[in-house]
């Protein structure tokens, strides 16, 4: 398989806007979760979220485009620009040479709520001309393609929290079929009155009011997760094309990918971690690597005791035969779970860890659960990080695993 190169990263997340802001926040261990702003969530039994507080849409989105689009698309447009800038990427003369393959989970929440509200309160004529293009799951992909003149094949995947990794999985197929550059990842903006209500019904949100008590993956007091907004978009390039345009940096190489489904129940996870472990094994086999080659696992980190136990079982199943326990961290604990945006953000985080040789810690992991064969990373630490496995799960049983490794000239 062609090793795809990550040449640019754009982050718009609760932990920061821009890749360096996000990373320094993580390394310093600054929780980005706080009381919900923008509306009063008192009725939900949930008070916390990871919101992107320092995002100024005017700084990233032209006024005529801003009125046509929802906040999730503003964030996608911003993240796509940041990724292209980070890569020094300018659209080549062949407009078909660049693609957009994003993950989406919830579409244009606030925009759509506003229009449905108007429809039912005042009638059909109150629905504006942009509803048809603002809320649907392909809105951000279409708008990026139009703004940046990218005419390559495009796609949108929905697999809840696993989407960010699955967009990369699809992008690899596109590159195999001849498109040299693909934007992947995604953002979400579901911390809105109706969007939050929908997410609350998953029954997986923490009702704690203090951030240190709320989203605590792998801790004995884990009691659910905190939702968030934002995400990341990354530029992937075929190595020859990246070299030919003189790409100024390579963050790393996408070496392997695997995806499975529990196919067990419409909401409950499978009682064992067989399919989750199989996704990890598929990705390692795809990369031609063994569990011993892996320096760090960036976990899904659901924060729900049963789901945490299953994830540790899957990791233990794959990595249990090593002589040294595999380091595992769950950086989503700092930002909240961003659905499709979260797994994309974890890929960005993994590449930053590889660059600096720093493993970011897991927020509020005060009293780790028993995890044989696993080295849970409580606090950021300097340690060799070359090969990383990024894991993600989607509600309903989606399991995805991605392998990243450093790019060495001549190895791909």
């Amino acid at each position: 398989m062609t090793g795809l190169l990550v040449t640019g990263i754009g982050v718009v997340a609760p932990t920061g806007v821009g890749v360096e802001a996000h990373w320094s926040s993580l390394v310093r261990g600054e929780p980005a979760i706080g009381p919900i702003e923008g509306f009063d969530p008192a009725r939900y039994g949930v008070t916390l979220a990871g919101q992107v507080r320092d995002f100024d849409p005017e700084a990233h989105v032209a006024p005529q485009l801003k009125v046509q689009t929802d906040r999730w698309t503003w964030m996608s447009l911003a993240a796509a620009t940041l990724a292209a800038q980070d890569a020094g990427y300018e659209a080549p003369e062949d407009a078909y040479a660049t693609s957009v393959f994003l993950a989406a989970g919830s579409g244009g929440n606030e925009f759509s709520q506003h229009e449905i509200q108007g429809l039912w309160a005042k009638g059909p004529k109150s629905v504006g001309a942009y509803q048809s293009i603002a809320w649907f799951y392909a809105a951000s992909t279409g708008q990026i393609s139009i703004r940046d003149s990218y005419k390559g094949p495009s796609g949108v995947v929905v697999s809840e929290g696993a989407g960010g990794l699955d967009s990369i999985g699809w992008a690899r197929r596109v590159v195999r079929r001849g498109t040299p550059a693909v934007l992947v990842g995604g953002t979400e903006a579901g911390v809105t009155p109706y969007g939050l209500l929908c997410q609350v019904t998953s029954g997986r949100l923490s009702t704690a009011t203090a951030p240190e008590d709320a989203y605590k993956p792998f801790d004995r007091r884990a009691n659910g997760h905190v939702v968030g907004e934002g995400g990341a978009i990354l530029l992937l390039e075929e190595p020859g094309a990246a070299r030919a345009r003189g790409a100024r940096q390579v963050w790393g190489e996408v070496a392997g990918y695997g995806a499975t489904h529990d196919a067990h129940h419409h909401e409950a996870p499978a009682p064992d971690a067989t399919q989750y472990a199989r996704a990890i094994r598929l990705s390692l086999a795809d990369a031609g690597l063994t569990p011993d080659d892996v320096d760090l696992v960036v976990a899904d980190g659901a924060g729900v005791p049963e789901l945490d136990a299953l994830e540790l079982a899957a990791i233990g199943d794959v990595f249990g035969g090593r002589t040294t326990p595999v380091p595992v961290t769950a950086p989503s604990s700092w930002s909240g779970r961003l659905m499709a945006g979260g797994s994309a953000l974890n890929v960005a985080t993994a590449l930053l860890a590889m660059r600096d040789g720093i493993m970011p810690g897991t927020a509020h992991l005060d009293d780790p659960v028993e995890a044989p064969g696993v080295d849970l990373v409580q606090h950021s630490r300097a340690q060799r990080v070359e090969t990383v496995v990024v894991l993600a799960r989607g509600y309903g049983g989606f399991n995805s695993s991605l392998v990243l490794r450093p790019h060495r000239e001549g190895t791909s």
């Binding site: 229009e115 649907f136 799951y137 279409g142 094949p153 949108v156 579901g190 929908c198 309903g396």
Partner: protein, 428 residues
């Protein structure tokens, strides 16, 4: 592509379409040239500009779903489950028995443009007290709203239904979702990540918010006086599409896998490609350049010459701009062959079910290839000088089809094309 390329065939088809029951009812309706468009019955449409739709008389319980399945799922998921049951039964794959395919090698790709929009709207009416409160009241919410918000639940329901442990996802590229989901499903097989993929699309958008948002941009028809003849693709009198709903699910299978078990093959999926116009979210340039590019690439992938194409199942939505754009794209990509092909739009009969229609049209195209009959474009009376191809007016046509194209175009600028070939077509 090299000589060891894994080939993908269709071995099962299931359809939930307006005006008919199941795959054979759908085919009978298409070949009879019968339309399923009518005045909207799901809600009182009198305050809307467009009051016509192609509705499915759908009853999940009567189609074999359990009360739990109906209760927890939006209509789009229910229709996909029913279509998938029919497709799997049709394929002869014995899920749940000792002869079942390896579950780790079975994937799911389900397209949907707008997911559970109907349920999200109905629930919103309850929790906001009909748009009175911006801060909604959780006490009136159903417990299944998370699934309604995130349409990947549709892929989950199908994976659970058949115990499919392979890659699963929902594909949501607006009105090309149905083609892209099948295209992605075939890529999973070509790339060796699955041997069987349950692949299709579903949408149930006939709800006030969907009708209102297409009203304001005048994309839907205003011809409320004569609902049965409201959808007029390629006709000079066309004035917009008629909203539809439904689902089609296909069983995609690796050719050798199908051969080994002696499965009947409808056709091969010989090529798939999509491109973006990077022009406008809803507008189309009349030249059709990007759709032509998608068609050319899809044919290239199957190493098929333009002059082998006998039938084009058109997007043919019946908007002024689409039908002109598409006619230009077909001429541009097929050259002189465009003058010889049959090209028809089944949206004239079953309406435009957004993301679902791509898969419904692939189902129709596969049946046309298998049975040597091309479905017509209904309501075609007045030629438009800008749409000057053979649109198979009003009456189905017996025609042996070796190679057919199904194409789609969607909001966001997406243009998709898929190529189906008769199993007896000799590969060069």
């Amino acid at each position: 592509m090299n000589a060891t390329r894994r080939r993908v065939v269709i071995t099962g088809i299931g359809v939930v379409a307006p005006g008919s029951m199941g795959r054979e009812g759908f085919w009978d309706m298409l070949t009879a040239g019968r339309t399923a468009t009518r005045r909207i019955t799901f809600f009182d449409p009198s305050r809307f500009r467009s009051q016509v739709a192609a509705e499915v008389d759908f009853d999940g319980r009567a189609q074999g779903l359990t009360a739990h399945e109906v209760f927890r799922n939006d209509r789009f998921v229910q229709m996909a489950m029913v279509a998938a049951d029919e497709a799997v039964a049709d394929s002869g794959l014995a899920f749940g028995t000792g002869d079942a395919p390896d579950p780790d090698r079975v994937g799911v790709t389900l397209g949907s443009a707008v997911g559970a929009t109907m349920r999200l709207e109905q629930e919103y009416v309850a929790v906001s007290d009909a748009g009175t409160h911006w801060l909604v009241d959780p006490r009136y919410a159903s417990q299944f709203l998370h699934q309604a918000l995130v349409p990947s639940c549709g892929a989950t329901e199908l994976a659970v239904r058949f115990g499919a442990h392979g890659p699963a996802t929902v594909v949501s590229t607006g009105c090309t979702s149905g083609i892209d989901a099948v295209g992605y499903g075939s890529q999973l097989i070509e790339d060796g990540d699955a041997d069987v993929v349950i692949s299709g699309a579903s949408d149930a958008p006939i709800s006030p918010i969907s009708m209102a948002c297409f009203d304001t941009i005048r994309a839907t028809t205003g011809n409320n006086a004569d609902p049965e003849h409201a959808a007029k693709p390629f006709d000079a009198r066309r004035d917009g599409f008629v909203m539809g709903e439904g689902s089609a699910v296909l069983v995609l299978e690796e050719l050798e896998h199908a051969r080994r078990r002696g499965a009947e093959v409808y056709c091969e999926i010989s090529g798939y490609a999509n491109r973006c116009n990077a022009f406008h979210m809803t507008g189309l340039r009349p030249d059709g350049v990007e759709m032509a590019e998608a068609i050319r690439l899809a044919l290239d992938q199957g190493r098929i010459d333009a002059d082998e194409v006998g039938y084009v199942n058109a997007h043919g939505s019946g908007t002024k701009q689409n039908d002109r754009h598409e006619t230009a794209a077909v001429k541009r990509s097929l050259g002189p062959t465009a003058q010889r092909i049959s090209m028809s739009s089944i949206k004239s009969m079953v309406g435009h079910s957004l993301g679902a229609i791509g898969s419904i049209e692939i189902a129709a195209t596969a049946l046309a290839v298998q049975r040597g009959v091309v479905p017509p474009t209904a309501n075609y009376e007045v030629p438009d000088p800008e749409c000057d191809l053979d649109y198979v007016p009003n009456t189905a046509r017996e025609q042996k089809v070796d190679v057919a194209l199904s194409v789609g175009s969607g909001f966001g600028g997406f243009q998709s094309a898929i190529v189906l070939a008769h199993p007896s077509r000799r590969t060069p």
